[in-house]
Amino acid sequence: MSETTTAVQTGALTNIGFLELEKCEFYRNPNGFLCLRYEGEEHNRVQALRSLPLTQPDAFLCIQDMENQEIGILETLTTLPEGMAELVQEELERRYYCPGITDITSIKEKMGFYYFDVSIGGFKKTFSVKDLGKSIKELRRGGILITDVDGNRYLIPDLAKITPRCARQIEPYLY
């Protein structure tokens, strides 16, 4: 197989519909929603979805209209102009809201539920978790994602960076 053929084929494979940054204009409409003007076309209300929400939250962002039709893929958030990047980031944070746990006061197991007493940025929060195997996920790079019984998600960004006391609390429950 010649190099040209390989390049053509690879090019075809990687052509996943990236949005051209210079043609993108993200803005928020007066009703509070993210909108996109792309190649002169107005998309009133768009949604930004993460392709890799756990491993690369700011890359390969799928921009869809409200009918779930893909407009294109934003390769990375950092390449967007500052104001627009913030708008998209806000949208992503609202959709994938996942507060970071800064301290674990206690984890108590009662009647099949695990009650987590934690601090989130200085605020105390208690939530309950069931079915540990599915609810607590170890992420790459030492992160831990906890989903409570109501579907709310909490993140310990890096187990190595929290206090040894917190690490000892959560460690027995990691599957």
Partner: protein, 774 residues
């Protein structure tokens, strides 16, 4: 939910309007801001503002306006009480005229949701909230939209806001009426013991046998040590040998007697427990199984019950083993500790006081040591489970691994997890090797101190040698029971957890309930009328959106659409495996919710792509829907389903065992058996849900022929991807995104050149490209 409904209805006469469920403190704060809370029609609690900032958020509406309040809440202890209370603060109150928003709706995101108001056809963001509050906001929207449409509000209910237990302050998970941690504990234990209600006499005999057996075993050190030393060995040389030998003989006989009685009483209670427990476990499993049959399909689809069989077996075993191996020894060891302590005091008060000083140290060492090791064991267990699942994953995927030449990568992946297991095992082994000798050393030192103090008492003449040795024997007898009692509470907690899970299944309410006054149709004709049907498996993710569809009696309707369009859901709703959220499915003019479940299910036959054959013979499987069918009917059904020929080729014919562990049948053969099962049921409505999608062309043709025979004289709904299989349909409906986008006859739809035409063109061109012309 029902209870709340009743309460609301009970108060309707005095107060026709609903306030939702805002805490009274919040209502008071709103009143202070000048808002009349007695006229509120609905309210809901959230936890974020419109920008996604974490705060206490309340939304409410009355006939004048829609109100959004932002504040904070802090959980604090009540003064002079163990109970907790919440302090609320109000920061802002925003009022929107009621005319501004024509409709409210929610949108569901990954872990949040949004309340949206429709203003002049445009969406406006009103507030965000964590996903746990979604149900509350959904109900709020429903009430608002009902009010805006001018319909009465009596059926609107408020549910889903985060509730906290007054006793412990912990959040109460959705789906629980009370705090599972506090409220259910005592009732779980009571209910667990209630299973023994039928065996009161046996339980009494068990307790008496335990008391006597343990009491007898407590005498043993007195005979085998104290009397042996003080009455025989220590008197050697001072009293005649014959007398001592006679006393020794009596002691040996006494010892045998005591041992015999101890064994006899142990055998009695173990025999009785052995007889009761299998019956109790049988009762528990029967209750679970009955509950499982009662529950709707939705229960099995929910994530919490994915491993229901594993749960049931594991939980029943947990209960079984605790009652067989745990509870009896709790009683025995408790009696032992009390009895031994009494004997110790009778032998030496001074020495016993010393022991009582040392015992707490030993107990604390055991409790904390136990906890520490449990964590290490848990970590080891988890790592071990990971290695096992990875090995199993690897073995199952061997073909793929080899095809992609990924052996080395797989080895690296395994080595990483296996390395973690090695680390956990090493930590456990090394800690055990270090801690246990230290623990034993502590115990030996304490025993030596005890022996030295006791010997001093012997030297002073305050105790005999026999008494000291007996004393030490009694102290040794304490070790086992104390050790057991120090960790049995965890075992007990596990048993109660299991019981709670069991009762969770037993108490689960089915989503699909038979009407209290079910309608029995005199003649089931099979005309279907679906109007404004809305259905969602998860809140705010509708699968069917205001769908209208009708099928005449005896008509064949073909349903086509993309994967995920909602075709199978329609079939499930006609068979009432689920209930519609809004709108209705009527058969012969009667809502399926009002129809007798037995009549409905016996008249709706479902042949789906997922074929399930039960453990049993082929004949048993065919007559599953009609157990009294004779063999001639079974063979006739098999012939009609084109199954007879392949069945006759099997060595055991219709007696061939299928299902788990039985004869392997191909997909097509299994499908034909399942069609025969439906034929024998003779339903008036036949739903063919992708019945031939996974078959090869020849098998499909065979099955199509059987299905054509089956269709005559009944209403048929055929769901298919391959449009060619729907040529016989009287009419076709194209479903997309939960709605009917097009309907008509095959020819009409082709002529219309819309969605169906596009699908048909794609398929025929694809076939033409490989040289097949339909």
């Amino acid at each position: 939910m029902k209870k709340k409904g009743k309460e609301t209805r009970g108060k309707e006469k005095e107060k026709p309007r609903q306030k939702g469920r805002l805490p009274k403190e919040v209502l008071a704060l709103l009143e202070q801001e000048g808002l009349r809370t007695d006229t509120l029609l609905a309210a809901v609690t959230g936890d974020m503002d419109n920008t996604g900032e974490f705060c206490a958020r309340w939304a409410a509406f009355d006939e004048q306006g829609l109100y959004f309040a932002t504040g904070s809440e802090t959980v604090v202890s009540k003064k002079g009480s163990k109970k907790l209370k919440t302090d609320y603060r109000l920061h802002s109150l925003e009022t929107v005229p009621i005319g501004d928003y024509d409709e409210l709706k929610t949108e569901r995101y990954v872990s949040t949701g949004r309340l949206i108001g429709k203003k002049n056809g445009e969406d406006c963001s009103l507030t965000l909230f964590s996903i746990g509050f979604l149900k509350g906001f959904e109900d709020f929207c429903k009430t608002y939209n009902t009010f805006k449409s001018g319909k009465p509000l009596e059926n609107a209910e408020q549910e889903g806001e985060e509730r906290k237990c007054e006793k412990c302050g912990m959040p109460i998970p959705n789906g629980f009426h009370s705090c599972p941690k506090c409220a259910d504990k005592n009732s779980t234990i009571k209910r667990l013991f209630a299973f023994f209600g039928g065996y009161k006499k046996e339980v009494a005999v068990v307790i008496v046998s335990m008391l006597i057996g343990t009491g007898i075993s407590l005498i043993m050190p007195k005979i085998s040590t104290q009397m042996l030393f003080d009455d025989v060995i220590n008197k050697a040389g001072t009293e005649p040998a014959e007398k001592l030998i006679r006393t020794l003989g009596l002691l040996v006989l006494g010892l045998f007697g005591v041992r015999f009685l101890n064994t006899l009483f142990s055998a009695v209670y173990q025999y009785i427990i052995g007889g009761i427990m299998p019956r109790v476990i049988y009762d528990i499993k029967q209750k679970i199984f009955v509950a499982m049959q009662r529950l709707s399909v939705g229960f099995y689809a929910s994530k919490q019950t994915g491993s229901i069989i594993e749960h049931v077996n594991r939980d029943a075993n947990n209960i079984y083993w605790f009652f067989v191996d745990g509870l009896p020894y709790v009683l025995i060891n408790s009696i032992m500790v009390i009895g031994v302590t009494g004997f110790l005091f009778s032998l030496s008060v001074k020495l016993t006081l010393l022991v009582l000083l040392l015992v707490p140290m030993i107990v604390l060492t055991l409790v904390f040591g136990g906890r520490f090791f449990r964590k290490l064991h848990h970590r080891f267990w988890i790592m071990n489970a990971r290695v096992s699942s990875m090995a199993s994953d690897n073995i199952n995927g061997q073909r793929i691994i080899k095809a992609f030449s990924k052996e080395v990568d797989e080895y690296d992946r395994f080595a990483e997890v296996s390395g973690k297991l090695k680390g956990a095992e090493l930590k456990l082994a090394l800690t055990e090797a270090t801690v246990f000798p230290i623990l034993y050393l502590v115990i030996i030192i304490l025993s030596t101190v005890l022996l030295a103090f006791g010997s001093m008492l012997v030297v002073r003449g305050e105790m005999t040698t026999g008494e000291l040795l007996t004393y030490i024997m009694y102290v040794n007898m304490l070790q086992g029971p104390i050790d057991f009692l120090s960790w049995v509470s965890n075992w007990w907690a596990r048993c109660v957890n299991s019981a709670q899970r069991v009762f969770e299944i037993v108490d689960s309410k089915p989503d699909v309930l038979e009407s209290e006054t079910p309608v029995m149709l005199e003649q089931f004709c099979g005309a279907i009328e679906i109007s404004e049907l809305v259905f969602e498996y998860e809140p705010a993710r509708p699968v069917i959106k205001k769908l209208d569809l009708s099928v005449r009696e005896g008509e064949m309707l073909g349903i086509v659409g993309k994967t995920g369009a909602g075709k199978t859901t329609i079939a499930n709703l006609i068979a009432r495996l689920y209930d519609a959220k809004e709108g209705s499915v009527k058969i012969d003019g009667v809502d399926v919710k009002d129809l007798s479940m037995k009549q409905l299910r016996s008249n709706v036959g479902l042949v789906s792509q997922d074929i399930y054959l039960f453990i049993g013979t082929i004949a048993d499987n065919i007559r599953y829907a009609k157990p009294d069918a004779n063999l001639a009917e079974v063979i006739a059904a098999a012939k009609a389903a084109s199954a007879h020929d392949f069945i006759m080729k099997l060595p055991d014919g219709y007696d061939t065992r299928v299902g788990s562990g039985g004869q392997d049948l191909s997909g097509g053969e299994r499908q034909r058996v399942s069609i025969a099962r439906t034929i024998i049921q003779n339903p008036k409505i036949l739903i063919l849900d992708e019945a031939t999608a996974a078959m090869d062309t020849a098998t499909e043709r065979n099955i199509q022929e059987s299905l054509t025979r089956l269709k005559s004289g009944r209403t048929t709904i055929a769901i298919a991807h391959r449009l060619s299989t729907l040529r016989d349909a009287d009419r076709l409906a194209v479903i997309d995104e939960g709605r009917v986008v097009e309907h008509g006859t095959f020819v009409e739809l082709i002529k219309a050149k819309k969605e169906f035409f596009k699908l048909y063109k794609i398929q025929t061109e694809a076939l033409k490209s490989v040289g097949i012309v339909e």
